[in-house]
């Protein structure tokens, strides 16, 4: 009997005006949005590839280990078409200097700050606004409408239990709403895949599948809300109005209000204070460094004679004392750096944790609305939320350690000459002999003499440079950022579970209301 009711309702609803208008609107929106979003993704992908290639090219030019200063890039995420989250507002690159304090920056500023007046646009916007309205519209007259028409009396006069009627109605609503959701997902996928450059990995497919399921759970929750109002009120107009007011609160007021409240309840620590703290630590580090470098009078510090990879210079040749001092200075400097880099990293993280705390608060307040829960789930599944960015930051951090370890192993704990120079012991011995005429010529008045001495010296250094080839970095660790699906599913579970609970709660409420429902018409 449940199926009979469900089938009848399903067919009835499928033919209705509201269903047609809603579905057509969704289809049009998807056709407009998806190609634009896909193009945007391709643009970002192109930039990412260009950056990664440039980075590789620089790596091939590295002459000394000290110059290894790669930048890692965060690949754009194809699922951001479905849910943009905050993906575009977070940094896409991080510089990894192993010899200095790391600068892992989340570039917060958009390319054009004035563009921030427009809200983000993605497929989940269509789903959460249009579909939630559609679900309410499908449900508002399910019970109260039948009562007004008098057909509810007829149904209940046969020997059918009330919960069968309610379950039948619920299943019918769900079946009807699955149709537009499926259309939207299939259409978006088709449009997305029509771009030959876009490829979806297995993880992407899994993400999309989960987003589909999450959308169904969300739509069903909104339908249950409508069903509850319908079985609570005697007139369908009143259940409609109640439903719509709740909808406006969920869609418009809660998402804005929650953030507004959160920023007032837990205001951010001022950036200047953190900046000052950071500068203080850096200053302390520089002092320590200066103090340590005092022990090595012949160390040339980061001075350099030739342009190397990543815009860094290196020492081509120097005298023996400088060579020996530097070989002792660099390991010491490195140990100072690793201490301070950790404390600065912690400062950086504390800033992010402050942001995160506010975000969590806003998220928790917004959990009052199923629409916000759904938005959250979608951005987690599309890996465009802050958690995914945090994992990028952690990966960056461990990549830095990996590089440091690699260089340490290659250069006997930074003490090998190849760490900072291409000069060998023998070249250093020849240095004095070659620099002498040059430095003596500086005193001479004759410009031609000076010129000639310089030329001779340059010839000698160029000879050294010509003998050396770039380092072989075949086994250099490469950055591999792969956000795990398992991890994002784990993070999405609480909100999905909440949505399921909302479903159960609302359905039981409508059950209670319907069991006590007075079917008599006035």
């Amino acid at each position: 009997m449940i199926w009979k009711i469900a089938r009848k309702e399903f067919l009835l609803n499928l033919m209705t005006f509201k269903f047609a208008v809603g579905t057509i609107l969704c289809v049009i929106l998807v056709i407009v949005f998806v190609p634009v979003l896909a193009k945007d993704y391709l643009q970002r992908l192109e930039e990412y590839n260009r950056n990664v290639t440039a980075n590789e090219a620089e790596l091939r030019k590295v002459m000394v280990y000290k110059n290894i200063l790669p930048t890692v890039y965060r690949p754009p995420n194809v699922l951001s078409v479905f849910s943009e989250g905050i993906e575009k507002r977070l940094g896409t690159s991080a510089k990894i200097p192993h010899f200095d304090v790391p600068e892992v920056s989340a570039t917060t500023d958009e390319v054009n700050p004035y563009m921030s007046m427009f809200p983000a646009l993605d497929v989940s916007l269509v789903l959460r606004i249009v579909f939630s309205a559609l679900a309410l519209l499908a449900a508002y007259n399910v019970i109260s409408g039948e009562r007004e028409q008098g057909t509810l009396k007829l149904i209940l006069s046969s020997s059918i239990p009330r919960h069968h009627v309610l379950i039948g109605k619920f299943l019918a609503g769900l079946m009807v709403l699955i149709v537009p959701v499926t259309i939207v997902f299939i259409l978006s996928l088709m449009l997305l895949l029509s771009f030959p450059m876009i490829e979806l990995s297995a993880a992407n497919w899994a993400g999309i599948g989960l987003m589909y399921i999450a959308s169904l759970i969300f739509i069903s929750a909104m339908y249950n809300l409508g069903l509850f109002f319908s079985s609570l009120m005697k007139q369908s107009a009143i259940s409609l109005i109640l439903g719509l007011f709740t909808w406006v609160i969920f869609v418009v007021i809660v998402p804005s209000g929650s953030i507004y409240l959160a920023t007032q309840i837990s205001p951010l620590e001022s950036r200047e204070k953190l900046q000052a703290q950071r500068e203080m630590t850096i200053q302390e580090y520089r002092d320590k460094q200066r103090e340590a470098s005092g022990k090595f009078p012949n160390w040339r510090g980061p001075k350099s004679d030739a342009e190397g990879a990543f815009g860094m210079g290196y020492t081509v040749v120097c005298d023996e004392s400088c060579l020996h001092d530097s070989a002792k200075a660099y390991p010491l400097m490195q140990s100072i750096v690793s201490n301070y880099s950790n404390s600065i990293w912690r400062l950086e993280l504390s800033r992010f944790d402050g942001l995160l705390k506010q975000k969590h608060l806003a998220g928790n307040i917004a959990r009052f609305s199923p629409v916000s829960m759904y938005e959250n789930v979608m951005s987690i599944l599309a890996q465009s939320d802050f958690g995914s960015f945090r994992s990028f930051m952690d990966d960056t951090r461990s990549y830095r350690d990996e590089i440091t370890e690699y260089i340490r192993s290659k250069t006997y704990n930074f003490s090998s000459y190849s760490y900072f120079t291409i000069c060998t012991e023998e070249d250093a011995k020849g240095y004095k002999k070659n620099i002498k005429p040059f430095s003596e010529s500086l005193k001479s008045e004759n410009e031609q003499d000076r010129e000639r001495a310089r030329e001779n010296f340059d010839k000698w250094t160029n000879g050294i440079m010509a003998r050396r080839s770039p380092l072989d970095l075949q086994d250099f660790p490469r950055f591999n950022y792969r956000p795990g699906v398992a991890n994002s599913i784990k993070r999405a579970i609480p909100d999905i579970a909440l949505l399921v609970i909302v479903n159960i709660l609302l359905f039981s409420l409508s059950f209670v209301a319907f069991v006590r429902y007075d079917v008599r018409s006035d």
């Binding site: 005006f17 509201k18 208008v21 809603g22 609107l25 407009v32 949005f33 634009v36 905050i86 507002r89 977070l90 917060t108 500023d109 390319v111 054009n112 700050p113 004035y114 563009m115 921030s116 007046m117 427009f118 809200p119 983000a120 646009l121 606004i129 249009v130 309205a133 519209l137 007259n141 369908s236 107009a237 009143i238 409609l240 109005i241 109640l242 719509l244 007011f245 406006v248 609160i249 869609v251 418009v252 007021i253 998402p255 804005s256 209000g257 953030i259 507004y260 409240l261 959160a262 007032q264 205001p267 951010l268 620590e269 001022s270 942001l355 995160l356 506010q358 975000k359 806003a362 802050f386």
Partner: protein
Amino acid sequence: MIWHIVRKEIYENLLSLRFMLSLILIISLFAAGSFIFVGKYRQQSQDYWEKTNKNLADLSKSLGRLNDLAFFEQQIFRKPKLLALCVEGHEKSFPNYVRFNIFSIGLPEVKSSVNFTLPHFSDVNWVFIISLVLSFVAFVLTFDSICGEKEAGTLRMMLANKIPRYKVLLGKYCGAMLTLCIPLLFGLVVSLIIVITSHVADVSGLEWLKILVVVALSLLYLSVFVFLGVFVSCRATCSANCMVVLLLVWVGLVILVPSLGRTASNMLSETPTRVELNRKLYETERQMWDSSDKFGKNAGNSYADVNDPRMNLPARARLYNALTNAKNGIIEDHHNKMMAQALTGRNFTCLSPTAVYQRASEVVAGVGIGRCTDFYRQAKRYQMNLKEFIRSKDAEDPDSRHLIFDEDNSRGAFDWRTISKRPVDFAAVPKFDERDLGLGQSLKLAVWDIGLLLLFNLVCFAASFVSFLKYDVR
């Protein structure tokens, strides 16, 4: 007769559930929004004055010598506005800070602790409540105004009397508008009482006038929605269908079209990037230095001794000034491009009355993107004034070479004495003070938007009028 209908409509609405729900919702939103506004405004003003006073204190410290004043980097911030109570215009994510000396001015920057991990959101202010919630209430009040009466059969009875149809229509319209005014006015009064009793700031006469204009704009905006509701109600077969259509129209006009702005500006205009800006600046600088002899012999070289016969200071000043002008031009060009990109999207969204209304009230209240450009413009004008001031003071000093250019202060201005080293009187130095636009000027800027709102009203009125005249009441 028309007042009969209006009175009946109002009484009916007042007793309905939807009216009660709207009233409670709207008043609580107004109250909550104002409470939070008061706290925020207080905090913002305190921050603003702290930073501004610090800037002035630093400025007064640098007044030992005129050349130091010329090279002093001032840091100025945008003033918080009381009228942000009415409309906020995304100001919190817009640049609010600019740094300059008399030679160069940077791009305006965002200097506030904004949590970028949170989605951009609008404060719950008057325009937010009116454009999103009250517009929705307008639809809820009007969706059954015609077709509901037809379903109930009362429309027939009414039209069987000698009353002309347009009077019925106007009666319905006025009834709905007046009903809408009740929660609106209550809300406004509650909000104003909260703000005034908290003594955060005095509301000036100009501000009162501006508030009145914003309220008038709000009524104009709501009237579009009432007409639209009546129009759809005339066209729909039953009130349920009418609500469906209106809901979708509302979603489209109020939420979707304004969200399309980003897409539109990305499609219709180019995105200016920092990389490109830096490349241009770098190239221009290199080019200028390479062709420095164009400005005079040895313009690109400097020597330790200022009396070295090879030193050509006037040529060097010309080179530096040309360089400064070129760089400033590039930065201004970049800023204009950013503005143009944002405004393209904004103009596109004006298909929706919501966007038009928001823009008009932003202009009237003196907030939003227009105000940000104005702030930047005022900063530049102030920079020019200060330069003139320094030029005139410099002219009084016979020891100075009167060559005001952007060479490193300690070398150029101090050692070479290109600018006077005499002390300056702090009181005489012009100081930056951000000025609001007058009401007339704001209205002049908003006149297109007001015209558009009137046009929307007219179109919706004509549509509903024609539909109702041809309406089959059977």
